[in-house]
Subunit: 178 residues, 4 copies
């Protein structure tokens, strides 16, 4: 899960405050899996963010980030999708607030889903995007993969355990996990 | 639930065969609630079919019809939406095959949901439409209502018990049943 | 949503810390609707907590409370159900972590769901209980109502807008909102 | 999907009638995955039916069967669970009628899910059982497997493609597909 770098929206936390709340309460996140669908609603591809790490390897991820104070879940989805996919991605935000999966991450080594920074609870959504995806960060690329490509050990191995699980759950939910 | 008048798609049943299977097995239907959503995914309006009955009254209904032999659920949704809303409605078909509700109708008087013709099981979906809805039948109109308007006793009273329930369940599913 | 009175479990917040985080981030809650079901899985009754307010009126509510730091959603559900229904309630905790509804509460007057204390996001679950419910607090009682009784304006009027909506959504989800 | 051998319940079809309707309309089925859960609602094991085939191999399957004329989905679930697991299995039938997955089977060679006999649509449910499972048929056994065991290629390879997919989808739905 990515953190928020800039301070242009709203009630952002100072690094000190964020440190503090992260030691006190679970932090609410959203995760979004961008997808391409054909005219009949059939899944064509899933979009994964590709990032070069400092160590020279790559990592793949869903769109992910915190829900801010006073922000609705839908606004958080919209903000993070725009931040990571650019302003022309034209995401179709979910109609219903129920997530297809809930991720629980703990800062305890050995947890099924581990996040060194915090206890996080993430609501995950599948989001069709119909526009042009142009990640704005230098270090970020967007790749579209067929369901079969996305489920290869190579691709899953480039993802955190939590995101690999959310990807599998998304494909299962769409009836595309054979 | 409406029946199929024309014979342009595929393995249609003769009236005799339809009569026969209706006395033998549950018949599979789909129901679709057309909705308008804004750019943020927020529900703006629900679409109900308006029909003049022979008795001079009106009735309101969801898009509804049988799943044919050899037809997928998604194809059945697409066919019935086109039949009732015209070819320019541009429905966004559901990505996942799980319905938001399941309707069970029985030909037994006194059933919670009654259908004199048959035992029917209907899978219900919420379908955003972004194009122009032009019902092709003379007797049919499409009306868009806000969630509040749709939930008035007048509107619900123009619907069958089953469809009124599916409408309420859809609005509940979208978090819009206050 | 009820707050936590005692301090026997884990990483509790001091009142000062709770005040602070409530001004910084959305606070994660769970809501649980206790239900009685018959041997065939059919809903018989919903359980609402009944509380006498200082003003001499009564209020009705779902089981509700915060998710603590390092606590899973399922542990939070179990803890709050035991706190409010007693140790012999024998709740059947949900198998899947996906809530049937998500509540979003804002401290802004005029919000659809208003919570003066905080921005809260609540994951809501339907929880069959098969044992004996004995609320431990003096001021608390548990009442079982049929779906029809629960949906009367009198009962819904004793609930907060948010909880009344969650109750309706639960009955819709179970196909029992006619 | 298994067929119904005996004729003790209700509006059974003669072999001729069943042949006929199978050439005319999609046939409605239910699939049920029996599971064991611990006191906290955590999945412990999934139950698969084990059958010796005439060819001397074994096959594994979910509980599965047709919904009969005049029968509710819940009654069909109950009947097939009792038929395959015996009268002491004590299944906890689903509260809500929405399936966690929908299977579509076609008699067309090359279909994603193939059923030589018919076009079938199956609504799939996860069903905790708390009692004693004693399959009544000679040829039938019930085996309990941990999620990890159930997901091995050996086990999945003993299942039809459709049932293997429903099993994976069930584990994904429960957040147990890592």
């Amino acid at each position: 899960m990515n953190d928020i770098a800039s301070g242009d929206l709203g009630p952002w936390l100072s690094p000190e405050d964020l440190d503090l709340v992260r030691r006190k309460v679970p932090i609410l996140y959203i995760d979004a899996l961008p997808v391409r669908v054909d005219a009949h609603g059939e899944l064509e591809a899933v979009g994964l963010l590709l990032r070069a790490t400092d160590a020279g390897t790559i990592s793949r991820a869903l769109v992910s980030g915190r829900v801010l104070f006073h922000e609705t879940i839908r606004q958080a989805l919209e903000r993070h999708l725009e931040k990571d996919l650019g302003p022309m991605a034209l995401p179709r935000l979910p109609l219903a607030p129920q997530p297809y999966a809930v991720g629980e991450y703990f800062p305890t080594p050995g947890s099924a889903f581990y996040d060194a920074r915090q206890h996080a609870v993430s609501l995950a959504y599948i989001v069709p995007v119909v526009g042009d995806c142009r990640p704005s960060h230098d270090t970020l690329e967007m790749t579209w993969l067929t369901p079969a490509e996305a489920l290869t050990p190579e691709v899953l191995g480039d993802m955190s355990e939590g995101h690999a699980s959310l990807l599998r759950q998304a494909l299962a939910n769409l009836g595309r996990l054979r």
